[in-house]
């Protein structure tokens, strides 16, 4: 037998240290780091470090040798090398004082692109969408950052633009699902092409720049993520028939900015389907700097309507098509003797009114409310926004001759359509009749609930109900739903829901009616039984037998489960247990909450009776 040499096979061959990798690729360490981030090559941990590093146990970073070998084929690596040469030439020219030559060199500098890496790392569009959480967070973070030594203003501007393009798209396509205002920032969740995308937007406050984070790494990630988001946005925009990149309304941009400054144009007719049609009210009337823009806006509005008609027709067609090809139903494999069939989760049809929550409303947003959050939310749910700060801008931009009078500015804007006013002050001095005054939390909670909540709890100066997390630990427990036990009646009574004029909540009312009817039926049945002469004890026994039946059914289920568990492999069993743990936890929590509720109801009852 041949004698095997040490460190010639196995881990020693599979892993490569960072220093070795840098030497192999012949780039600087900084360039190597950037390349790894671009290509998605991460540090690895060999099972036995000693074997991987030729007997040394020094703390080092390892990579897969195959990954590094693959990096050798990377065009960007070549560009990095070219850049190194370019930097040398430039340095030389500058050293000799040949400034003109240096400028020429810089103009022809080697530039790299990352599109091929994006195609490679995300083979399908869905892959890209699935990984969009991190890019969005990063971009929104940089968009809110102050320009400093470590972060250039250009980077921040670019990030801000991309973020607004994303928000404009989400708002226009009504994709937003949930919102949560936390002490760190605002969490948004949107569903794009069936993928749930969660991102965090910092508040518009000056941020501290911590000194223990490496901005070179962050910026490299940002660079890659920007390219990714650009391609994703391009695809999303084109699929919705919009022009990418969208045009920017310069006058609005100078003012309050935000997503309403982005004009999303449709591809076919080149007409401006105003970025989230809803914001047209502010856009249209706030940008009255002269006669021509006014005309333009009118024309746009007309075209808009036409486009709407077209769109409606198209939509109808689509709806028909959708109805014909109704959602698939997943058929489980029929049950056999040994294994009961699974109950498969069926795809739920998206509700028709999703994303149309505020379709009939116009909101007047006070200047103390952070516009960037509220505007996005309202537009995303089909509402219209008139913001006080935009009007303020209008006053400031006015010519000096025409007097900086607030009333002048207010005249130009049609405030008669306003249905709600969002304000965040303890008191509102002079209320306008016909408007509903609410605090911004009403919008968040309504969106999370998927229905319009009673406004009485959210009136200005009122102590707000807690803002719960839409992903909270309440599991499936619905605090608004009536209890199924005997306390049901009292609970529904306890919850005195104040409905707003014209916004009755029909579903809940119906439910209540149903319950009452059911109880009446029960009573009726009892009476009938009494008349028929059936004894109470017999009745009970029948109930008991029912219970036993149920129990046996439950037992059977459990048995089946156990049987199936035996058939599972170890890995599957572990996974199953893990899942079961989560489910149990959820159920326990639900049960706990219900118990609490019952207790509260009981005390309420007592108080009432005493």
């Amino acid at each position: 037998m041949r004698i095997k040499k040490k460190h010639q096979a196995g881990a020693a061959k599979n892993f490569i240290t960072r220093t070795q990798a840098v030497k192999k690729l012949q780039v600087s360490l900084a360039d190597f780091r950037r390349l790894c981030i671009f290509k998605g090559i991460y540090p690895r941990e060999p099972r036995n470090k000693k074997k991987a590093n030729k007997g040394s146990t020094k703390p080092t970073t390892f990579y897969y040798t195959k990954d590094i070998q693959y990096l050798l084929h990377e065009p960007v690596l070549n560009k990095f090398r070219e850049h190194k040469i370019f930097a040398r030439k430039l340095s030389r020219a500058l050293g000799r004082g040949e400034v003109g030559d240096a400028k020429r060199l810089d103009d022809n500098r080697p530039r790299y692109k990352l599109d091929h890496i994006i195609k490679e790392r995300y083979p399908t569009f869905n892959d890209a969408l699935r990984d969009l959480d991190d890019p969005l967070c990063m971009l929104f973070l940089f968009a809110a950052m102050p320009a400093t030594n470590s972060v250039n203003y250009k980077v921040i501007e670019d990030a801000d633009r991309l973020c607004n393009q994303w928000m404009a798209y989400v708002a226009r396509e009504r994709l937003l699902r949930k919102v949560f205002v936390s002490i760190k920032g605002v969490y948004y969740q949107a569903r794009v092409k069936g993928q749930d995308i969660l991102w965090l937007v910092p508040f518009k406050f000056p941020q501290n720049i911590p000194d223990d984070i490496d901005f070179r790494i962050m910026l490299t990630f940002l660079e890659f993520y920007t390219t990714l988001l650009q391609f994703v946005l391009y695809r999303l925009y084109t699929e919705s028939g919009l022009v990418y990149p969208p045009q920017i309304n310069a006058s609005k941009m100078k003012g309050v900015g935000g997503i309403s400054a982005y004009l999303l144009e449709s591809r076919q007719n080149g007409l401006s389907l105003l970025g989230a049609k809803a914001s047209e009210n502010t856009n249209g009337k706030a940008t009255t700097n002269g006669a021509t823009p006014n005309l333009k806006m009118d024309r746009i509005a007309q075209a808009d309507e036409e486009a709407d008609h077209d769109g409606d027709e198209q939509e109808e067609d689509e709806n028909d098509a959708a109805n014909e090809s109704a959602l698939d139903t997943f058929q489980p494999i029929p049950a056999t003797e040994t294994a009961a069939s699974d109950i498969l989760a069926q795809p739920a049809p998206e509700s028709e009114r999703e994303g149309q929550l505020f379709s009939n409303f116009t909101f007047f947003v006070g200047r103390e409310v952070s516009l960037d959050i509220v505007e996005f939310l309202i537009i995303a749910f089909d509402g219209k926004v008139i913001s006080e700060s935009a009007i303020d801008e209008l006053i400031d931009n006015e010519n000096e001759e025409s007097s900086n009078d607030a009333t002048e500015a207010y005249k130009k804007i049609d405030l008669s359509t306003v249905t709600h006013q969002i304000c965040d002050r303890p008191t509102v001095p002079n209320k306008v009749p016909g408007r509903t005054y609410i605090q911004p939390q009403w919008i968040f909670d309504s969106i999370n609930k998927g229905q319009l909540l009673p406004v009485a709890n959210y009136a200005p100066g009122e102590a707000l109900p807690p803002h719960l997390s839409p992903w909270g630990d309440a599991a499936n427990y619905d605090p608004e739903a009536a209890l199924e036990d005997g306390e049901g009646e009292s609970s529904s009574e306890a919850e005195e829901e104040e409905t707003i004029e014209g916004e009755a909540l029909p579903d809940e009312d119906e439910e209540e009616v149903d319950e009452e009817a059911e109880e009446a039926l029960e009573r009726q049945r009892d009476l009938e039984k009494e008349a028929a002469g059936i004894k109470f004890s017999e009745q009970q026994s029948s109930a008991e037998s029912k219970k036993r039946k149920k129990k046996t059914a439950a037992d059977k289920e459990q048995e089946e489960k156990d049987l199936r568990k035996i058939m599972m492999s170890n890995k599957q069993k572990k996974l199953y247990n893990k899942m079961q743990y989560g489910i149990d936890k959820k159920q326990a929590r639900e049960e706990e909450l219900k118990k609490k509720r019952r207790k509260i109801e009981a005390t309420k009852e007592k108080l009432k009776s005493s």
């Binding site: 981030i37 998605g40 540090p43 941990e45 703390p59 970073t61 897969y64 195959k66 990954d67 050798l72 084929h73 990377e74 850049h83 930097a87 430039l90 340095s91 500058l94 050293g95 000799r96 004082g97 400034v99 003109g100 240096a102 400028k103 810089d106 530039r111 959480d133 991190d134 973070l141 950052m145 250009k154 980077v155 501007e157 670019d158 633009r161 991309l162 949560f180 936390s182 002490i183 760190k184 969490y187 965090l200 406050f205 941020q207 984070i213 490496d214 790494i217 990630f221 660079e223 391609f231 695809r235 952070s370 965040d424 605090q439 807690p466 803002h467 997390s469 992903w471 909270g472 893990k578």
Partner: protein, 433 residues
Amino acid sequence: MGESNRPAQKSQPSRKGKKAWRKHIDLDDVDEGLEEARQLERTLGTKDITSLDQSDLFTVDTQGDEGLKSKKDRENLKPLKADEILSRRSAVPALKAAHKKASSDNKKKNGKIQGVSGKELNRLMRVAGRDGNKSSAMATLESDGIIKHNNDLYDAWGDEPEVDTKSNLKSATASRVSYSKATVIPSTLTEAPEAVVPNAKAVDLPDAGRSYNPSIESWKDLLERENLKEEEREKQRIATKEEKERIEHLIATLDVKEVDSDSSEGENSEDEETNDQADDLVSVNKPVKVKTKTKTQRNKQKRHLERTKLQEQLKALKQQLRDLENLPRLLQEEAEKQKKREEERATAAANSDGKKRKKVHTRHSIIEPGLDIKLSDELEDCLRRLKPEGNLARDRFRSLQERGLIEARVPVAKKRKYTPKVTEKWSYKDIKL
């Protein structure tokens, strides 16, 4: 006639008696005045200048100095040969150094050097890596911005005509491009990164207690959890601190003992001598030591090593014998320990909620998460008064480390390669006036 500038006479502060009054009287100032008056009389004929006319006192000299004329003529003399040779110059312009030539061309036209503004020049310096602070890549990123595709965007996931990879590979190798297209993507590339915190997500679902207006229950829950974590950390901190103190104490006490044992008579005197020498040394640098060991030293070490080895073996043997004697007790203890360990593991698993950190062999741990909670007096129920907690940039960086996308490391400041050597300048010998 009195004399001025006479040799100084003995001063006589006390003038008691008539004789003393006659001798050694200083009359300098009187003599000076008299002499001045006499001088005036000699030159102008009167002691009183005020009586004279102005024209008698001053005259205007309108004629040149006769004596200086000859001095002026000297310039017309024939110059020295050496001077002549030195002053001879060629009509051909001298050669200039390359860099000087360029700089002479740099005529600033409206603040621009060769059509390049100063700001642009600064940027170029940064791109060339001549700034020192920033890397060249970062400088280019700044000048270009992060948006790489402006007009050449396309549908990256759209249908594409299939390209034959093999033919492509051939053409690539044949051309001037120095890289070749890879035909096989390694399976390792698609492996997920090794997360330090298992199941770490890009964005963690927010805790309900971190709502800006949380329900009391969830907020208390969060506070309790954070408190537990913080307590644990504090305990650890105190433990490490105590351990450090203990070690320091040990070091201090052990040092004293060693010194005591060393102080035998013979060595003592030697020590003192060396100490004296050390005082005399002027050099700031460490004294040069001869590191080579002598034969005797080596032998001594060897013997010592052997002896200690033997001792160890003996000790181990004795321990073994002892262990054998009370084997049943030891077995029982071991079983108990095992049980305890298992229990601990179980509780730890239950506590950590399945989020056990992976042990990674890097020197550094990932950056600590911030303590993002509002205390009871900080809770605000309206959005307007909300003060954000925590730092999102830090959170994002931590998230990158958590998911294993980047390794945990601490930025290192550049160290100097060699220790600076202090030398004495001989300039103190220079003559100073």
